[in-house]
Amino acid sequence: MKKKENILAVRKVTYAVVAAVIALIYFGAAYITEFKMSEGIAAFPGAFLWIAENLMPDEQAISRIPKILSKLLETTLLSVAVTVFAAVCAFLFSLLGTRTTKINPIIGKAVRIVAAFFRNVPDVVWAMLLMFSFGQNILTGFLALFFTTFGLLTRAFIETIDEVSSSCVEALNATGANFIQCVFQGIIPSSLTGIVSWVLYMIETNIRSSTLIGMLTATGIGYLFDMYYKMLQFPSAGLIVLFMVILVIVIEGISNKIRRVIM
């Protein structure tokens, strides 16, 4: 009984210490970077006022809708294409990395490291690096998105497969099924919903990222936004943002629907 009370007392002290440390880090960081929360909050009304005054679509912006939509479609299709292609590669690659298939512990470790490398370099950095070799074109954007998506999906697939497929693969192995049969009859049917869910999530993410990458590689909707912005044609740029938001919401709605159907 005495021991239990001690544990509770220790826990209270731990919470207090953790809270104090967090506060200290916040104020320390704010002091060093000269960031003032109050000023940040005070700037909000001004920022919104600026948005309301400058980003409202005008007649010129409206006349550009067909062009904006065609670029938006291009960006969306590119994102879908990249994600699907990366997903296929990531699935094949993740089969080498899962404990479920027991290929080889060293290969498994290598796969995880390669995936971590591709995932942890941000896609914008990939785009900047690749621009040296491929120049400002759609291929650069495609590869930049491909690398991060590939890295992230490999890791996600490895975890999904290990979580949901390991028990049935053990059973299929025990019946004498070979590796390919285990993949097609065990891993794919059991982890398909998880895999599709991840792919849909990556499509959403990539539509957002591709806008940013397009600014660098001068392609797609990102380029259009960048151009209008630099020409100080804020209403047109604002319209693009509006369409982007609508697009992402629509895509989210579609993928939620797909998720519900395949469950």
Partner: protein, 259 residues
């Protein structure tokens, strides 16, 4: 002739943990043998060594007169097709239908392509359906496995094993997740298969009373060693305590073992 024979088998995990320590026993064709012992004693390891889901460190294992430990992948797969396995957590592909899961029992005997695409002959489908009918699962044939109860799932597991037309069935705690009624159904089916088809059964069990009721021979394992091997009548309370490393009144069991 012995269908399965362990010769001085040892298994060491990660160079330190000794899971099995000099295990030797053999199973005659048609026997129904239970392995009892506390959690972590090495029961599951013994079972998984039989078809080399786990590789052993020392010793030899013979299946049907052939040395399993020296086999290449292809020979090993041939052994596995003749060895059914039933798991505590059923290990079915939950998102596929009952029928598809039963047909998985035939995968090892198919070409890579046919197995991969899930192409089965009419005879195989009929055989699967007859097995399901024998296990009272005919009505569930086209249901998805995640819609079934635990007892039904385990019967699908049994159907998959029978579909292999095995010589030996390994059961890893087949009733540990089931209620008493489903447990009886499962044990009765196993016993029935053993008698009717003369398939040898090696069953890991937690329930001493169930082991005594169903098997003609019990193997007691503790700390990776065999401490008892004999008929249920010879299993006295002292031996049970030795197996579970317990004292009087430490065990939940209604076994009426000889004093």
């Amino acid at each position: 002739m012995a269908i399965l024979k362990f010769e001085n088998v040892s298994k060491v995990y990660d160079n330190t943990t000794k899971a099995l320590n000099d295990i030797s026993f053999s199973l005659e064709e048609g026997e129904f043998v239970s392995i009892i012992g506390p959690s972590g004693a090495g029961k599951s390891t013994i079972l998984r060594c039989c078809n080399r889901l786990i590789d052993i460190t020392e010793g030899k294992i013979w299946f049907d007169g052939k040395d399993v430990t020296a086999m290449n992948k292809k020979e090993l797969r041939a052994v596995r097709t003749k060895t059914g396995m039933i798991f505590q957590h059923y290990n079915l592909v939950e998102r596929l239908s009952v029928m598809e899961n039963v047909l998985h029992g035939k995968l090892g005997q198919k070409s890579t392509l046919a197995g991969m695409a899930g192409i089965y002959s009419e005879e195989e489908k009929l055989e699967a359906f007859n097995i399901l009918r024998g296990l009272d699962l005919a009505d569930q044939t086209y249901k998805r496995c995640d819609e079934l109860s635990g007892g039904q799932k385990q019967r699908v597991g049994i159907a998959r094993a029978i579909m292999q037309q095995p010589k030996l069935i390994l059961c890893d705690e087949p009733i540990a997740s089931l209620d008493p009624k489903s447990s009886k159904v499962i044990m009765d089916h196993l016993s029935n298969i053993n008698k009717r088809d003369n398939i040898t059964c090696l069953v890991n069990l937690h329930q001493v009373d169930v082991a005594m009721k169903y098997s003609k021979r019990i193997i007691g394992v503790t700390g990776g060693r065999i401490v008892f091997d004999g008929p249920p009548e010879k299993l006295d309370i002292k031996t049970v305590h030795k197996i579970y490393q317990s004292n009087d009144s430490d065990l939940i069991t209604d076994v009426k073992v000889g004093a």
